[in-house]
């Protein structure tokens, strides 16, 4: 035996038992045999006198449990799960919609940016062109006026030159006249001197 009577826990409540059946001669899988002491001497789980009551109470409790599960608990849990599922799906939808909106905004921004760049480039190039044209016109005007001045100056130089050259002739005539007078003491007519000067000048 596994146990000694002297050291046993007192686990019995014999007063209240009606079907106390602790297996007088039944041998369980663990090989424990009992020397009676309870009423019917049948292994308790096989004591058929308790079956009716157990079946009735099982039917009542399990039936009630089944009804509670089917009518209250399971619809509630499935409702919770469905609500969560819907909510998640809805949030995901909203998120993807927001993303699409953000993407559209980015695209619009980039488009506008590109347009602004193009416009800016156009403005810049037209301004450059205008400046170039203006600069070229001014340069041309200045060049023209400078050319005018240069040609006027050249004309004047030529005038002065011819005048000077003309003066050179008369100066030479006078000088020649004076030199001749001093040398020969005679008077030479102006016309002669002029021809002589002209001849030597050639």
């Amino acid at each position: 035996m596994f146990v000694t009577a002297a050291y046993a826990q007192s686990t019995t409540t014999e007063g209240a038992e009606t079907h106390d059946a602790a297996a007088g001669e039944v041998h369980t899988e663990t090989g424990v045999a009992h020397e009676g002491g309870h009423g019917s001497g049948v292994f308790p789980p096989f004591d058929s006198s308790t079956f009716a009551s157990q079946l009735l109470w099982l039917a009542i409790t399990f039936g009630l449990f089944y009804i509670l599960m089917a009518k209250v608990i399971m619809p509630r849990i499935s409702g919770i799960l469905e609500t969560r599922h819907d909510k998640i799906a809805q949030d995901l939808d909203e998120a993807s919609r927001s993303k699409a909106e953000a993407d559209a905004a980015v695209a619009a921004y980039e488009q506008e940016l590109a347009a602004a760049k193009v416009k800016g480039n156009a403005i810049a190039s037209s301004a450059r062109e205008a400046a170039k044209v203006k600069a070229a016109a001014e340069r041309a005007a200045i060049e023209a006026s400078l050319n005018d001045k240069i040609s006027a100056a050249e004309v004047r130089i030529a005038d002065i030159k011819t005048k000077a050259l003309a003066d050179v002739g008369s100066i030479a005539e006078e000088t020649a006249g004076a030199v001749v007078e001093l040398l020969i003491g005679g008077k030479v007519s102006k016309a002669e001197i002029a021809t002589a000067v002209k001849a030597s000048a050639k």
Partner: protein, 253 residues
């Protein structure tokens, strides 16, 4: 001597608490009935109060309820397909009821209702009865296809069919005895080893030293028994799903 010793079978004795006799039959409210009511109250109460807030983001306890729900739902869907989902309340109730009963049985001095063969047999008959009823209701005589696996040569057919019939008939027995025997044997083993601790502990110093071994054993067995308590509820539910699959798809072997 009998009443005084540690009796590993005593824990399975059904005691009357409130005697009720109807028509000469004993329907007394017993300790077994008490723990059936306790199982109902604990399981239903837990599921009811943990889900009463209906939080969008579940707390721990609500998660436990939701996980059990989804666990059984996926088990049934895998076992019996989407047509089997009409049995979801039944499988869920069976699983939660047996699991709670097994777990309550692990509490010292608590009665384990699943250690009574009549209880497990009644639950198994409920399952098989549902299979038979639904099978014949839905498929008529076509339900008998369940005994005729496809692709078997004609000459072997009588043998195979008789094997299938025997295996079908043994289902309620195996289903109920598996749960019953596991719970019974586990509790007896626990009680025996715990009894060793008590017996040896009173034998003086040597005895106390020796009692350490069965104590370790008892602790380890307690862990194992919690595993068995869950596992047997799970096995019962899985087999229920498989049997229901026969009712839903009788030719689907």
């Amino acid at each position: 001597m009998a009443g005084d010793k540690v009796d590993p079978v005593h824990q399975f004795v059904v005691n009357t608490i409130v005697p009720i006799h109807i028509g000469g039959i004993d329907f007394s409210f017993t300790n077994a009935s008490l723990f059936m009511v306790a199982t109902l109250a604990v399981a239903a109460g837990f599921l009811y109060f943990t889900t009463s807030k209906r939080s969008l983001v579940p707390g721990r306890m609500q998660s436990v309820s939701e996980i059990s729900y989804e666990f059984i739902a996926s088990m049934l869907r895998e076992g019996a397909g989407s047509h089997g989902m009409k049995f979801f309340p039944m499988v869920f109730s069976l699983f939660m009821f047996i699991l709670t009963a097994n777990m309550l049985g692990m509490v010292p001095y608590f009665f384990t209702i699943t250690s009574q063969i009549i209880v497990t047999f009644a639950l198994a008959l409920f399952v098989i009865g549902t299979v038979l009823f639904y099978g014949f209701y839905k498929h008529g005589l076509g339900f008998l296809n369940v005994f005729v696996p496809s692709g078997v040569p004609g000459i072997l057919l009588p043998l195979v069919v008789s094997i299938e019939i025997i295996s079908f008939l043994s289902r309620p027995i195996s289903l109920s005895v598996r749960l019953f025997a596991n719970m019974l044997a586990g509790h007896i083993t626990l009680k025996v080893f715990a009894g060793f601790v008590a017996s040896l502990g009173t034998l003086g110093a040597l005895g106390i030293g020796g009692a350490v071994l069965p104590l370790i054993m008892t602790v380890a067995l307690t862990g194992l028994e919690f595993l068995v308590a869950f596992l047997q509820a799970y096995v019962f539910a899985v087999l229920t799903c498989m049997y229901l699959n026969d009712a839903v798809h009788p030719g689907g072997h």
